[in-house]
């Protein structure tokens, strides 16, 4: 097992109303088998031992699936490795002596709560506006009575794999949530279950995106580049078609 020394330049901000600033820390003998968050744990234990406040950051499953963790590392959301959440980024991807600049996901629609924590509840409200199939519990027909070709199920699953981490928003120059929203719209518009509400769903979810203060896609493709689940921007193209259909042809 090898270890490395690192310089961390890390964002500290007490709450949404206060001003933030960068703070520098040096960490020595970081095992390269550690995950990025375990490295932050080490930093926090050190700060605590020194009688200082640890860095607040969101995280939970540490398996790359809950979507709760995320920070910008040297300008890239979730760090330099492709299709990887911050919790699954390992320190072997860095070299001894590296300087890591660590910042929260920044976007108008994601207010900062503390240090690296941001409020991503705007994404929930987009789902609440229509990102579902309106079916009540208890009366569903047999699952096999809705046959779905493998290819369609797989395509829907490709989109459904989105973990809602918000990296797409943070990396977009326009602060757009279109990769996230289009993933849900795609999943449901590809499947037969999603057909009845297809048009109002697209219209309602896009309207909610606007209301939350997210921007629009200008084909920068930064979202796709940082997405830990490899969600394709072809979903955005599909969403745009869905949205156009809903505005031109109504419900």
């Amino acid at each position: 097992m090898s270890s490395i020394d690192l310089k961390l330049v890390i964002w500290r901000q007490n709450n949404g109303d206060s001003l933030g600033d960068f703070e520098t820390h040096v960490l020595r003998d970081i095992s390269t088998d550690m995950s990025f968050l375990e490295m932050l744990d080490v930093l926090n234990e050190k700060l605590t031992k020194e009688g200082r406040e640890p860095v607040a950051f969101d995280h939970d499953c540490r398996e790359g699936i809950c979507g709760m963790c995320g920070a910008v590392v040297n300008g890239i959301a979730h760090g330099p490795e492709k299709e990887t959440t911050l919790c699954q980024l390992h320190m072997r991807k860095f070299n001894s002596g590296d300087t890591l600049v660590i910042e929260p996901f920044r976007s108008r629609a994601f207010p900062i709560k503390k240090d690296l924590m941001v409020d991503r509840s705007a994404l929930d409200r987009i789902i609440q506006a229509g990102g579902f199939v309106s079916v009540n519990t208890g009366g569903a027909v047999d699952g096999n009575s809705i046959p779905i070709p493998t290819e369609t199920a797989e395509l829907a699953m490709d989109a459904a794999a989105c973990i809602g981490c918000g990296a797409c928003v943070a990396s977009c120059p326009n602060g757009a949530a279109m990769l996230f929203t289009s993933a849900k719209i795609s999943q449901l518009c590809l499947l037969p279950q999603g057909q009845p509400e297809r048009k109002q769903r697209a219209a309602a979810m896009v309207a909610q995106m606007d209301k939350e203060g997210f921007g629009y896609c200008s084909n920068e493709r930064e979202c796709e580049a940082v997405c830990p689940k490899g969600i394709s921007i072809s979903n955005i193209a599909r969403m745009n078609r869905e949205y156009l259909k809903s505005t031109f042809f109504g419900r």
Binding site: M68, H90, Q187
Partner: protein
């Protein structure tokens, strides 16, 4: 403590129907007059909140995450069982029931498990209707695979992200109700206590994790859907925030806690490496469909796996258990892995691992097929360990995964506190001593989508509930107790870190104590040692732990401190329960109780019961009550997978 399981009479297959007919209903116009609190928004919580709001009840849902979609159910990989018999391979409701009862080592209640098997088929239909993209066959029908402990293919899956897709389905149903106003969602709130008025659960106290405010909420019923307590071991496959606080607080208010020593040890986890490690990552059990488990035949063989020829490998599961092979249940696989490592045949740098080899499957089916089946799991493994399972075998070792113990509930999922219900992993009811693969998702959704609605209606329909609001003295009193406890944790910190320990340091000590003495293999001596160590550890915590920051702010150290304080108290229940159960059962080998072949030996004469522990005071040992288990439809036999 009175333990009436309220199991309906009559034949097993009719009990649920009989019960539903016997239960009172609430007329649709009256439902909106009832308020229900749901704590936790994983599979059980999100599905329950959505279902109850759909029926017209007013629901307040709470979660400690920034969004209900983050609940730990999302991390489940492999699949969900249902007795659909789509594969025509002889499955039936009774077979799923039988497999589950047997897999739980005959320590679960027959009626509950049968109901679970019955509603399992509805779960799949419900999720398909919601748009959950389950794997499909080319003809468009649902695909299945097999899982540990079963000889039929009844597991439905969505790649290796089944838990994620099921949770997102439940989350979307919940989101729909939030949008419509049926559910009021409270994010970033941690439940700190339950409020009991005249013997009934009437509300909760929560800490607002953003501003530290202690808030109280009143309702007519409270549902705890707060998952398991595996994080007591510090290292487990649970998400970091999973904790026992809500269940433990309920226990301190009078809810019995059942089988707290029943902890499932999952056989296929990525082994522990350094002492900085924060959690363990599980590799789906479905990998054992194609992966072959082996160790070198020779002790201390440090050669690279590719250098070990076929005849010097011991495929110990296939050899010992020819009919189930690599698909033996989790307890058997776990115990055998430990046995091999204890015998000096472990592999890897720590020697605490066994191989899970895909070479034969890749040769047979081709790389493409294997990657399609397990691609994301392989990627995950490679990211963590820097080794490619396509090229060399995975290394795995057992780890704490799921807790089968939980709040005691009757057939209605009600705890011993009237009006307080426990769903999913938070209750003890369906898994006996060893949860089988693909059955936790099933229970969470069964409880939330299909069972709790009947229970809640019956409770409201048959109970005269007085009007209670948060102005009631029980609320102010409980909230004050919560505040005092938080102040006490912070007061310890004044004066800076000189000689102080961190929360994690204490938690790691507790975890090691439990893993060494109350883990896969236990004995009287070890358990008594652990019990004797606990007061010392608690003292260290309360006297020396340093919690930086303030209470009126985001304070993640304080959040962890509160959870660890509760683990420290709760651990006593785990150890006492393990001590009292002098039989090997499910995942746990009680070393004093094994067969001549070193298989776990159950003792039905003395331990065919649910152990229910009652809290009797901070300085008192808990009281043990027993709910005898009756088996009318299956005969408990020595489990054999040979």
């Amino acid at each position: 403590m009175e333990l009436n399981p309220n199991v309906p009479s009559g034949p097993l297959a009719d009990k649920w129907d009989t019960h539903r007919f016997a239960c009172k209903l609430v007329n649709p116009a009256n439902r909106r007059k009832f308020r229900i609190i749901v704590v936790g928004t994983g599979l059980a919580g999100a599905s329950a909140a959505a279902t109850l709001a759909e029926l017209g009840y007013k629901v307040d849902a709470f979660c400690l995450h920034d969004s209900p979609r983050r609940a730990h159910s999302i991390a489940a990989q492999g699949g969900i069982n249902a007795a659909k018999n789509y594969q025509n391979d002889g499955d039936s409701v009774f077979r799923l029931f039988y497999d589950t009862i047997k897999g739980g080592d005959f320590r679960a209640r027959e009626a509950n498990v049968y109901r679970l098997a019955q509603v399992s088929t509805n779960i799949i239909d419900q999720c398909v209707a919601q748009g959950v993209p389950f794997a499909r066959e080319y003809g468009g029908s649902l695909a299945n695979r097999s899982f540990g402990g079963a000889q039929v293919s009844r597991t439905f899956y969505a790649r290796g992200q089944t838990g994620q897709q099921l949770l997102l389905g439940a989350y979307s149903a919940l989101s729909r109700q939030i949008g419509k106003g049926g559910v009021t969602m409270y994010n970033r709130r941690e439940m700190m206590d339950v409020v009991v008025v005249n013997g009934r659960a009437r509300g909760i106290v929560v800490r607002n994790m953003i501003n530290g405010a202690i808030e109280t909420y009143a309702a007519d019923a409270v549902l705890l859907c707060t998952g398991g307590y595996g994080n007591a071991y510090f290292l487990s496959t649970n998400a970091m925030a999973s904790n026992v606080t809500a269940a433990w607080r309920a226990c301190k208010r009078g809810a019995g806690f059942a089988n707290p020593s029943f902890v499932q040890i999952h056989p296929t986890c990525i082994p522990v490496h350094g002492d900085y490690q924060s959690k363990l990552t599980l590799m789906s059990e479905s990998l054992r469909n194609d992966g072959r488990v082996w160790v070198p035949k020779k002790q201390g063989d440090t050669r690279h796996p590719s250098q070990i020829p076929e005849d010097e490998r011991d495929y110990y599961l296939e050899n010992k258990y020819p009919s189930f092979g690599n698909l033996v249940p989790r307890d058997v696989a776990s115990r055998n892995a430990k046995e091999q490592c204890d015998a000096g045949k472990g592999v890897g740098s720590t020697r605490l691992a066994v191989y899970l080899d895909f070479a034969d499957a890749i040769k047979r089916d081709g790389e493409e097929v294997i990657l399609r089946k397990y691609g994301n799991l392989f990627q995950m493994y490679e990211k963590i360990t820097d080794s490619d399972p396509m090229k060399e075998p995975m290394m795995i070792y057992p780890a704490v995964h799921y807790t089968m113990g939980g709040l005691w509930v009757d057939y209605n999922l009600m705890t011993t506190i009237p009006g307080l219900f426990a769903l999913g992993e938070c209750n003890f009811s369906d898994h006996g001593a060893n949860r089988l693969g693909a059955s936790a998702l099933m229970q969470g959704l069964a409880d939330g989508y299909f069972i709790i609605n009947t229970s809640v209606a019956h409770y409201f329909g048959s109970t005269a509930l007085e009007k209670v609001d948060t102005g009631h003295e029980a609320f102010t009193k409980t909230a004050a107790e919560v505040s005092n406890r938080i102040d006490r944790m912070l007061k310890n910190s004044s004066g800076g870190p000189e000689g102080k320990v961190t929360v994690d340091e204490v938690h790691k000590q507790l975890g090691k104590l439990l893993w060494d003495n109350c883990g896969m293999a236990r004995n009287k001596e070890g358990l008594e040692h652990a019990l004797a160590q606990l007061p010392h550890l608690r003292q260290t915590f309360w006297e020396r732990v340093y919690v930086p920051g303030a209470g009126r702010d985001i304070n993640q150290s304080l959040e962890r401190a509160g959870r660890v304080a509760d683990f420290l108290e709760f651990a006593e229940f785990m150890i006492r329960d393990a001590l009292a159960r002098e039989e090997s059962c499910g995942c746990h080998l009680r070393e004093e109780s094994q067969t001549d072949e070193h298989e776990a030996l159950r003792d039905d004469t003395n331990y065919s019961h649910v152990s229910v522990w009652e809290y009797t005071g901070d300085d008192q040992p808990p009281a043990l009550h027993k709910e005898p288990l009756q088996f009318e439809n299956v005969t408990p036999t020595q489990r054999s997978y040979k």
